[in-house]
């Protein structure tokens, strides 16, 4: 419905000054404080995809914190992710539809607000991730455009005039941080513009004594101005989320939206983006047959699913949660209902047909949404596996004792190039409770033959967040290599 409003890129006229373009844009600035909610109709699909794409980025930011990435690394990874899922070009980029990009950014943010306002914990984490994203964008924004953005909004800071600056010159200079060389420091100080705000708005600067305080006013030098902006962003968002949380029960909500929101907010826990939705997007093309599972497990499964597969083969049986988790995993992997029944029937080969049909067939059909309430169950994500109890076939990185984990790792992955020399690094990460980081690192190690390097995660710096994502990515690597090989043969 917005198509009619989308504008064709401007034909570049060299005589036209760039600034004249701004008025034509619905969103004049790349940065957005999200003061105004989107007041237009959106399709349900757009509602969900905007949010999901944004969620991927936020989840990556969260997991970066767990992986202890430096600010520079974080910026690189996030920018790469942004480019993939949520590109946001500078106003000067005239060949792209900036308004559409910014609209998506705007919409995604507000959908996620709805999903993440529900609990204190979710709010806190959402604010943190969003603020970081804002900081990254602010950092990378063009200086001129940033200035224009800042002046477009009232930040309620009071510029300190020259007289006042002179009055407090001694104190301001003393707390001014700059070059180690005194004369240079003084020079930059003279040129510095100061702003006055209530100290409560810049607690980070106060904490480090980077400002001069007088009767509750903090004198903030221009180069620390971003602190005010970030604090403002954070405070605004926190307040807005609380307001949304209060309003949410009263909102006349569409019953179609609630499940989407639930799904989104669940997915964010434990540094996990969303459910690994649908195999459609990630299907590797060919249908997976029951007899292929053995081969796939050996090559592509994450440790959790590999262990389940292994014990299924060893014991010819799996306990309830094992069946549940593994079954759903296989469903999302691409096993059709018929193949799934075939697979399980063959796996439980010590069971009579009668018992299988009575006790298991229903459950398998149920998990495919063909029985009972006919819900399309999603496969368990890392978050769910991490938070489940140890007896419930959860994440081995979390629930196994160190010795068992090392044995399991070696027997699962030694065929894929993992050696005992790699174990100390993985075990150290596990010890620090960064289980998904450990899993990601294993992925990197076992896919190094495809040219995957440390820090690249499952590709593009993404970390493991879902067993199906792990398997799908692994299969992608494999397929890409095969395609290359085929291409070479053809040549």
């Amino acid at each position: 419905m917005f198509k009619s409003n989308e504008r064709k890129p401007f034909i570049d006229d060299k005589d036209l000054v760039q600034v004249t373009n701004h008025g034509a844009l619905r969103y004049p600035h790349r940065l957005n404080f999200y003061d105004r909610p989107p007041l237009y109709d959106v399709t349900l699909e757009e509602f969900e995809t905007c949010a999901l794409d944004r969620l991927r980025i936020l989840a990556e930011i969260e997991s970066s914190a767990a992986r202890n990435r430096s600010w520079e690394e974080l910026k690189t990874v996030t920018n790469a992710q942004c480019l993939k899922y949520l590109p946001l070009h500078a106003t000067s980029a005239k060949t792209v539809d900036r308004d559409a990009e910014r609209r998506k950014d705007h919409l995604g943010h507000f959908v996620l607000r709805l999903a993440f306002c529900r609990s204190e914990d979710l709010r806190r984490r959402f604010v943190k991730a969003e603020t970081t994203l804002f900081k990254i964008r602010y950092d990378g924004d063009d200086h001129v455009e940033r200035e224009m953005f800042l002046s477009s909004r009232d930040f309620d800071w009071i510029p300190v005039d020259t007289a006042e600056k002179a009055e407090h010159r001694k104190e301001l200079l003393a707390s001014y941080q700059g070059s180690k060389i005194e004369t240079v420091r003084e020079q930059t100080f003279e040129a510095e513009k100061y702003y006055k705000v209530k100290w409560t708005r810049v607690p980070d600067l106060v904490e480090k004594r980077k400002v001069f305080l007088k009767r509750g006013w903090a004198y903030v030098p221009g180069k620390e101005q971003s602190s005010i902006v970030f604090a403002e962003f954070e405070a605004n968002l926190t307040k807005a989320l609380e307001a949304t949380a209060r309003a949410l029960p009263r909102l006349d909500e569409d019953t179609r939206i609630v499940p989407i929101l639930d799904n989104l907010s669940q997915g964010f826990l434990a540094g996990v983006p969303s459910e690994w939705i649908g195999s459609a997007e990630h299907a590797t093309g060919d249908e997976i047959k029951a007899e292929m599972v053995d081969e796939l497990a050996k090559k592509h499964f994450p440790l959790c699913m590999w262990t389940l597969h292994n014990s299924l083969r060893r014991d010819h049986h799996l306990k309830h949660f094992g069946r549940l988790n593994y079954g759903l995993f296989l469903k999302v992997l691409g096993l059709s209902i018929d193949e799934a029944i075939a697979f399980w029937r063959k796996s439980f080969d010590r069971m009579t047909d009668d018992k299988f049909n009575k006790e298991h067939k229903y459950n398998i059909r149920h998990s495919f949404g063909l029985e009972g309430k006919r819900a399309n169950y999603a496969a368990k994500s890392c978050m769910q596996l991490l938070t489940s109890g140890p007896s419930e076939a959860g994440c081995p990185y979390r629930h196994y004792s160190p010795e068992n984990l090392q044995t399991a790792l070696l027997s699962a992955y030694s065929s894929r190039g993992l050696t005992s020399a790699d174990l100390p690094e993985i075990m150290a990460t596990v010890k620090a409770a960064h289980y998904h980081v450990a899993c990601t690192r294993v992925f990197e190690m076992t896919h190094s033959t495809f040219g995957l390097k440390k820090g690249e995660g499952v590709g593009g710096g993404e970390s493991v967040t879902h067993p199906n994502q792990y398997a799908a990515k692994s299969m992608e690597f494999y397929k890409a290599q095969q395609d290359n090989a085929e291409a070479m043969v053809v040549e």
Binding site: K170, A174, S175, P203, V206, E207, L213, K214, G216, W217
Partner: protein
Amino acid sequence: MAVAEAVDTSPEVMLTFYRRLYPFKSIFNWLNHEHAPTRLFTHREFAFTLQGDVYLRYQCFRTAEELKKQVCQLNPTRFEIGPVYSFRPKDKKTAPPGAFNPVQRELVFDIDMTDYDPVRTCCSGADICRRCWAFISAAVQVLHVSIREQFGYEHLLWVYSGRRGIHLWISDKEAMELTDDQRKALVSWMTVIQGSPESSKKLNVRLNNRSLPPSLQTALEHLATIFSELVLADQNVFESQQGFESLLQQIPDLNVVKALRETWSEDPSRSSEAKWADLKSQARAYAKGSTQRINLTSAMEDIILHHTYPRIDAEVSKHRNHLLKAPFCVHPKTGRVCVPVDPERIEEFDPEKVPTVNQLLKELDSVARSEGEIGEHHSDWERTSLKPYIDMLDKHALRLMEQVRRDKRGRDVSW
């Protein structure tokens, strides 16, 4: 501490104290900021420590009378004041999950003499005397000025903690509403001596260009005088071998350290003042503006701050939900009442002159006897030595209420 008369804080004594002397109305006014009960009082957590160290949290009351009734009924050894919550603390369990949170709270500081053990020679641990109270009074002076000048807060109430420390309650509206993060930032700004007493050398003072932040520069001028009077002359901290060794540890210049150690080891009776003078002359031996001299002067400044700058118990101030003993409670060990202290006259304050609960009850008895009256009066405290202290709290509360009224009127006018 030498307590001349026997301290008796038995339940009977405490009950009489609460019934006849404790200024509930004044406490109510001070917490509530208005005459009619507001959330500041009704949603406020009180926590009682009952006889036998039973701890009772999340109590709350609608009025001063209700508080008095409950206190007299439970007869706690002391009670503490917590934050204002989003719900009445009593209804904690019925509040929706996650919705029961502290929303307002006086900004509080706690300075305790035990933190000064590495730099005092007269007493240690729980003991306190007139001499080492000077450390507290130095801290109060610095903090009082800093909070007012730098943060602009006006409504500061200093309260003696009953034994060896002092509390500060700041009731300005903005201070009440500070978040935990903001409190943490403020505490960091105020903190100079970090870490445990063992790692006492670590000072959080220098900016990256090695200069003192202006806030500390101002404090330093005042503290330098206190340093020579208190640390050098009175406490004579550097006289002992152990004392001067810890001083030498804080000097970065190895040549100076070596020279001083030789002189001082030869002359064990050399006073702290003389030693400090030695250090000064060592600094002067370097050319003005030379790196060595600057380093040495900075080190000397750090030493002064280290010995005299307020040592704040950061954990108390950082979190809104921290409980702090209410003013006018009785310290169970000393029997002394936690009375407000006038920061302008902090130097005259003598913790040993603070009335004990037993002394107050005796005063009551003699008043009753001389007047030949029987029965209780509503303002019995007026006839005891508690009066000036309660007047102080009343005056403080009055200023606060005045301010709130002014703010309200200001808002009305703006319409």
